[in-house]
Symmetry: C3
Subunit: 270 residues, 3 copies
């Protein structure tokens, strides 16, 4: 269950220990967007050394490699595979995911059971999301910034320009049974914008959020964790169904409500 | 022409006669969401007995069966087929429509000429809507509540979370030449919300509305029946085209306007 | 680079010279929607005579033919082909584009190197946009009025009814590497509505705008030409990347930003 997928610049390994305090569900040491080309090899080594020295938190520890097709991809993947084998990382984040063969390459390189989170963040990735996600990654994030950049468009606060793609990726993820992680909110100081955007994402069916600053993790958990009232209602619905009660709180207990109630309880770990 | 598809709980057959007063284009005795599992067999019998005793109104009389894959489906379908053969029902509403084979099964069970309205209301139904509707149901509704529940999302008053799917189903219906019936409005007391939502649906190309309360029928007819002004303009456009007049009311008479004008007149039965 | 695709009624060739003053990137002599059926042959002749007499401006000169399947299509296409061969037109606008075979027919009729702009403006065109645009037109416009008319819907100022299709066509165009030209704004007096609508289009990735009045050309160029500030920022990003600088103006220089910066510079001709 990844409610928060927190990216930390791979070339600032000193941050790894600090971000553990906010208890993200997954920490990602980012070797891609956060690291300039000239620094890539040094950042890779420093990041993996830091992970070996201390695990950043109790959640998943992942490394975002550079995309397939770049000169860094093979060495990044080999380094992460070794880290997984040694137990210092749990898996990989594969950005710009555009063909099922890329996922096969990554799975083949990693130890069995390693986690693979893919990024759907290009025109081709969005257009082919259904077959790409059917190939079976463990989770997928929708990268709105990169997607809109790939279209030559521009991001806006309302985000209408990405609604089609965000909806399409959410649907494709559901069809494949893959948890979907929602787009980043770039302005890390605007908590209300994050809450609003995360709520929109949850309404579409997303299960968690990209976080690009530790302060966003608590907000993501707030939005993507069912509230006590939601849990209580879900329990009532499930119990009503089990006892054959047709109406609860003046509302028909139908299949859709039971399904949503079970989903709520599943997210609380019950 | 189904401007209103009014669902009535199958386990409350006393309502059937009452709803006839609002003259819905189609009445649906609902054996699915409206009926708790323990009550299914009794509700089926009571509903069909009531339909045999008195036809609820002058419009189509349909029965919503439980979905394919449930233990009630076969008996529901057999009962509706018999009711159609006896002339007490006109056809079936098939919920959670997800494969063309389901439609074939239903067509094969019913007398020739029976009406089949399908529900597109799941991730798979929306994703495959184009081929599913090309299989040729008589009409299709978009079930936003169930679709969003299937995604694990949540409904909002604005409905942005379902815009992608609602648009995709409307487009698929047009490609197949199947009339599309728009999502339900759950708050049955909010007339303005219904009008606004129905207007949005009509703007996307929907031809009618799911109604879950008799009071919504008059609102659906209000929105989905062309106004006198619309009819007058449509007549003017069609006449202008017939006489080779290029401009009407200061507006070019082009193919798109003629097409829309014909559609307006068709909806008034002309 | 077509920031403005200005349509001029083919039966009013006197306007051709006038519209040249606003310097549209492309002028289109429209033989389709602007001309009533009875006037089609005379308008064709008058339009092409006028183009032969004087080129309307320094940009592309195109002729919109009537759609494939109409009785005028063959003669329209032959006349445009001849005009292209004589150098008085640069190509054709093919409306209601719905099959790759239509594009092949047009390409085969025109001299090599002639420009073909297609219109995606029907249910089928939108649904098949990915394969239709992969067939390789030089540019494509999205016709929201005709698309919504084809669905039997209605246009609104907010345009939500066309967001799905507008997004799908923009994505399909990007996948095919075909510049996408955005929908028309019908109220030619409302400059703010045009700016807003064009900005939305640019945000989705569109490269230019249909113009149906000369006054809209300057607005289209305003929106679709990068500003001095955008150019300066783009230059800074590209230079930072070349020098291996990782952060510019407090923002990480990542692949998405470099890509957008290059796109901005490309639009200014650099």
């Amino acid at each position: 269950m990844i409610r928060s997928l927190l990216f930390v610049p791979g070339n600032r390994p000193g941050l790894f220990a600090k971000v553990a305090r906010v208890r993200p569900d997954a920490v990602v040491a980012d070797l891609e967007d956060a690291v300039a080309p000239a620094e890539k090899p040094a950042a890779r080594e420093a990041a993996l050394d830091a992970l070996a020295a201390a695990r950043p938190g109790a959640g998943l520890v992942l490394v975002r490699v550079n995309p397939p097709g770049t000169s860094w991809f093979a060495a990044d993947l080999a380094a992460v595979a070794e880290a997984c084998a040694r137990g210092v990382a749990d898996g990989v984040v594969l950005p710009k995911y555009e063909s099922a063969a890329q996922l096969q390459t990554v799975r083949a390189a990693l130890p069995a059971g390693a986690t693979v989170v893919v990024g759907v963040e290009s025109a081709l990735g969005v257009a082919d999301a259904r077959s790409l996600l059917a190939a079976g990654p463990d989770a997928a994030y929708f990268g709105a910034e990169d997607y809109i950049a790939d279209l030559g468009g521009r991001r806006t606060p309302a985000g209408t320009e990405a609604l089609y793609a965000r909806s399409a990726v959410g649907l494709a993820a559901r069809l494949a049974g893959v948890p979907a992680i929602d787009e980043a909110v770039v302005d890390v100081r605007d908590e209300e914008a994050f809450r609003r955007n995360a709520t929109d994402g949850r309404n579409i069916g997303y299960r968690g959020k990209i976080c690009i600053h530790p302060s966003q993790v608590v907000l993501a958990h707030e939005v993507f964790t069912p509230t006590a009232a939601e849990v209580a209602e879900a329990e009532a619905v499930v119990e009503a169904e089990a006892q054959g009660v047709a109406v609860i709180n003046g509302r028909m207990v139908d299949a859709a409500h039971v399904k949503m109630a079970r989903e709520v309880l599943r997210r609380t770990g019950r």
